[in-house]
Symmetry: C2
């Protein structure tokens, strides 16, 4: 299939590579300075930051191709073309790291072209599903908790290990096991730590060792853990 | 070596098993109803909840053995015997899951018996280090962020995927990649998401989809991500 990918960011970079590896003929364009005549193919994928999607769609203008964006939080209607879709890969991409696209969940939406979008998606991933804009927006929010906020917990932990004179790598077996556990049990069943039993002697000592937002985060998440487990018991 | 392990909880269960597998002669006792004459061996490990360590140590009474506890947050002085130590395995244990003790970081402390404690630790783990009570307490706090709070982020994400009608397992590739990334780069370098660039259109839409403590956590962690990245830039 001939596919244009617009966007030189992390998603665009990994996506065009996966499409090429799957044997597609890929035209890879920059979101900032492409011209409409460069855009070719049956499918055009706009992989630019959320706020730029509408502008890029408008700049493409009239086309017979299916035009899709890759955003978790923007609705299908952000694309102005009639043949439109969403092609949302739920993963955290880094320039430096290879990812196995086959395992990345791809969430698709289109009223006009689901079979075509699905065919393209299944050529690069074994994990393809249909999801509407409202539920995709929820899923993107869940991904912020599971990835971005989790990573910030790692960052706060790394600041504390540094203060303790211990290398951050000492935490990696714990971080890995925490991620592995939820493959086998729900996060609510997997929950451990002082907040589970509201062990105030530990919690107060920990809070006394923190300051600023880290202290507020400790307090709030501890309360939320306790509330979550109580509400599941009742 | 003959070793007594006191405590039938998760740490005691996994520890006595690892010690047996390493060829030690293990006496495994319940923290609630052991009698001092049952306690045998060169080393006695108290693997009970933090608040019960002092009572168990007192109940053991006079002994020529080295007595050690397994707590990250309690100081060495919680043990009343003169030959005392700390044997802190930094990992999250579940009854249901096997763990590879060889990879678990073990943090040791003892003024009287470091060689003996070290010999025992190295018989079950390849990751043994010495750490004093103050820095161990910090490390335990870091572990709360990296494990307990991370898991709560998964739990909040699971509530949202449920609302979106998507199975929690769809998040597992993202959760795994988030954990894997910090093997190769620091959590601060790995940070992605709307809070990195304070993308207010996404942040406000996300907050409008949340309520209660989850909403407060979203707001506070987003601010903390932004602050953390700014302070590293300056």
């Amino acid at each position: 299939m001939v596919v244009s990918v617009i966007g030189h960011g992390r998603v665009g970079t990994h996506l065009q590579k996966a499409l090429r590896q799957a044997g597609h003929d890929v035209v890879w364009l920059s979101g900032r300075d492409f011209t409409p005549d460069e855009v070719r193919g049956e499918v055009v994928i706009i992989a630019v930051r959320d706020d730029a999607i509408a502008d890029v769609s408008r700049h493409i203008g009239n086309t017979t191709a299916l035009v899709a964006h890759t955003s978790g939080s923007k609705p299908l209607s952000t694309i102005e073309q009639k043949r439109r879709g969403v092609f949302y890969p739920m993963q955290t991409f880094s320039k430096e790291r290879e990812v196995d696209f086959k395992k990345i969940p791809l969430f698709l939406e289109s009223y006009t072209d689901m079979p075509l979008l699905c065919q393209l998606a299944e050529s690069i991933s074994n994990n393809v599903r249909e999801l509407d804009s409202e539920n995709r927006r929820k899923l993107h929010l869940a991904a912020v908790f599971a990835c971005n906020f989790t990573n910030h917990c790692y960052a706060l932990a790394s600041q504390i290990t540094e203060e303790a004179g211990v290398d951050f790598s000492a935490l990696l077996p714990l971080i890995d096991e925490t991620a592995q556990k939820v493959h086998e049990m729900s996060p609510i069943e997997a929950q451990t730590g002082p907040a589970v039993r509201m062990d105030m002697s530990v919690i107060e000592r920990h809070e006394s060792m923190l300051s600023g937002k880290a202290k507020d985060i400790y307090h709030l998440i501890s309360e939320s853990i306790y509330d979550t487990l109580r509400s599941k018991e009742n």
